[in-house]
């Protein structure tokens, strides 16, 4: 991989998630995501039997992989990776073939019938370019997500990942996912 000056990533402390949906609605508002589709979501698992129950809430969105399968399969170059690591879609180049949706190990993309293009989380690239945080990160009541530049040793995310254990989802897919779930 080419050396990046920046490597944006997310660390998610899922145990802090209370499944309140603030991130989902904030994303909908920020990015004009139509009802019925979603760029981010919260996985819910319930274990055990009454009254010994346990629930896990785990927010998820595009993993902004280091070696994104979606970019590899895109025939037009619409899916691309920015120098800061953000995987984005240039919708004017998207022909709606949906190969990327099949290639994505995380099912993070959806097709917009109304526009004929594929969409997904781009970490609110337009907000990043203004120096703001992604909408989901900013709005969260319990501050589940930490966003930042892994290449910056002074960043909160860099320091967090140095001292905390974490896992990534579907490591075996080999795409180098950049959402780090703190353990």
């Amino acid at each position: 991989m080419a050396t990046r000056t920046k490597r944006y990533a997310l660390a998610i402390d899922a145990k802090k998630c209370i499944d309140c949906k603030a991130c989902v609605v904030a994303c909908r508002a920020e990015n004009g995501v139509p009802v019925g589709k979603s760029r981010n979501w919260i996985n819910e698992e319930l274990h055990g039997d009454w009254p010994k129950l346990m629930a896990v809430f785990e927010p998820e969105q595009c993993h902004h992989c280091e070696d994104p399968a979606c970019v590899r399969v895109c025939p037009t170059g619409a899916s691309y990776q920015r120098p800061d690591g953000v995987v984005a879609i240039n919708s004017s180049e998207c022909v709606g073939c949906r190969y990327c949706m099949i290639a994505c190990p995380y099912d993070a993309r959806f097709f917009r019938e109304d526009l004929g293009v594929v969409e997904k989380c781009d970490l609110c690239a337009h907000r990043l370019d203004r120096g703001e945080l992604p909408a989901c990160v900013e709005t969260c009541p319990s501050k589940v997500r930490v966003f930042g530049d892994l290449n910056d040793p002074t960043s909160e995310i860099h320091q967090l990942l140095e001292k905390r254990q974490y896992r990534v989802k579907k490591h075996e897919a080999g795409t180098g996912p950049q959402i780090y779930y703190l353990l």
Binding site: K16, C20, A22, A29, W50, L53, E138
Partner: protein, 725 residues
Amino acid sequence: MNRRGFLRVATGGAVGVTLLQAEACHSPLRQQKVANDVTPRVEIPTTCDMCVNKCSMIAVVEKGIVKKLNPNPENPKSKGMLCARGNAGIQQLYDPARIKHPMIRNGERGEGKWKVVSWDEALDFAAQKLSAIKEKYGPQGTLWSSSESFQEVFFRNLGQAFGSPNSVRHPTLCLASVNLAYSVTFGTVPSFDVQNARYIIMSGANRLESFITPDTMDLVDATTERKARLIYLDPRFTKTAAKADEWYPIKPGTDLAFILAMLNLIIGENRYNKEFVSTYCTGFEQLAEHVKQYTADWAAEETQIPAKDIQRIAREFADAAPRAIYYAGRRSSWSRDDFSMRRGQAILNAIVGSWDRQGGMVPNAKVELGELMFLPWDDPVAPRVDELDKNFPLAAKGDGVYLKLRENVLAGQPYPVKGWMIYKQDPMSAIPEQEKTLQMLRQMDFVGVIDIQMSDTAWYADVILPESTYLERLDPVEMLGGIRPVVLYRQPVVKPLHDTKPAFEIVQGLAKRLNLFQYFDYTMEQWIAEQVKTLPMDLPLEYLKKHGVYSPAEYPKYGTTLKPDHRFVTKSGKIELFSERLQGAGYDPLPVYHPPSEVPTGKFRLVLGRVAFHTHANTTNYPWLSSFAPENTLWIHPKAADSLGIGAADRVEVASGVGSVRLKAQVTPKIRPDCVFMQHGYGKRSPWLRLANPGGSDAQLLETAWDKVSGGAALHETFVKVRKV
């Protein structure tokens, strides 16, 4: 806020004009001008109104359109967050089903035929009707209902100036029992320092789904960072239960047994704070004697929580004090003995000394705001229609007791009430036994509604006076007391989209026609100018326009009341464990346990609660929110569902003694087998609220029952039959 005084601002509009012209400092990030159609992008700090928390936020407005609402981190209460509802505020503004013009009914009540009219016509009509009722029945023949809004003060003042003693607010559908229990004990209702607590017990206060700032965020932090231990009692496995250290699916209505057994052990084992009790409390000896009967073994039978757990929790709680709190919650009453249960909590918190200490209960700090003096009116002559003096002598006079009030209005006792003005309230959805609310609406000669959407109540109105939403109007400045008090500013971020007005202007319009304008002869700008005069800065209004919120840096402060000569606002001047005030009013001076009625065979106890993405019954028509639950479901335990032959997603009929609804079953182990649960705000009648129509309305099922002391509607006293349809 209903302070009387002599009109001081006699110089007319001069102050207001100056303030209107005073533009705030223009920082590149935040501009305070109302965006016009060509402004490319402005960010305007203001205050959310999607629920009661009043979080600070920043509206991003592009070319006159609100694009995004972002959290404003300057507010120490909302702490830089905006929840799902706050983010969906845009959908309230741009809701196609908003009431866009004043309308007068043009058919039978509830038939849905409306005539769009001018403001003059609508206000003339309302004023004529109100005057006719005053003529025939006296001013007490009108009822003025309203809920929390920064502009509620004007509506309430109009009702009083009109001469009606009958204002009724939301607390008896909400936290009246909590407020009264803490007031009786401490003379005030404190906040809970969740952020610094080390041991927290919650009875059903589902704080992670029913947001209260900053408690919700502090609780997540406290539990997930292992700062505090959370013990959670609830018949449902809520999101709060999921994060709790221990969850007990307590038998509903028995929480007081749990609390009394804790008191028994803590006193019996000398684990209470003797110095605190002897310095600040009164009635300890009577309390100690009283709780001797309530052992852990006894409580285990009542609550279905093992005695050894009750004992351990009691010891851990006392050990963690003063950073130990039995969290009061902010919630409706559950049982007819709800007040006693809240009193028990207050007493428990008191005897371990968790008062005015870090991590305990803290009396609310305030920021003084100025008040505009306006012409006083005569006090209403007639007594209240809910006869509080007789029925609920300790209840808050200005709030009223909703269920008793409805009963008396329906009976025409002690006098007829024939006019109903309603502001920002939906009694059809909010009050148990909807059929009776409908009867109450039907027996009125006149119903006027001020709202932003066609609620089920508005649907039955005679005239609808549409209010501008919180993103379109300038509101009075609001102070929220708390551990960290805040002063909030709400300014318009766009011009009104439709032919709507702020409640203040609607009130002025009515006042003019009712010959009461002399009491409302001021502008919003004058009102605000008086309010901000007391703030400790050179240009307070400019500060608020720029920041949206002000919070003094010196908080939190602990221990301001911990002086042996401090007088609590109680009869004895002490914290009253034993209450002579209660005794004098004919109630138990100490909390006495009465077991709840047993669930009849073949029935279930209906329990209610919240989800984080809805506010009461207000937000179910906004697609961004209802997409998470397009209809409500009936939670039913797998064992119970099996016995009734109910499978996942089957439709069921739920029937109580007063009504029945149909909705989808959700077979889930997250609820006790003897209870069922349904979400509030669905099954609406109003065809304008298309997305809120599916599912069933709990208001149709709930039976009329109230807490004996506060009069708060007891919402867990209804038993229902469930069958597959």
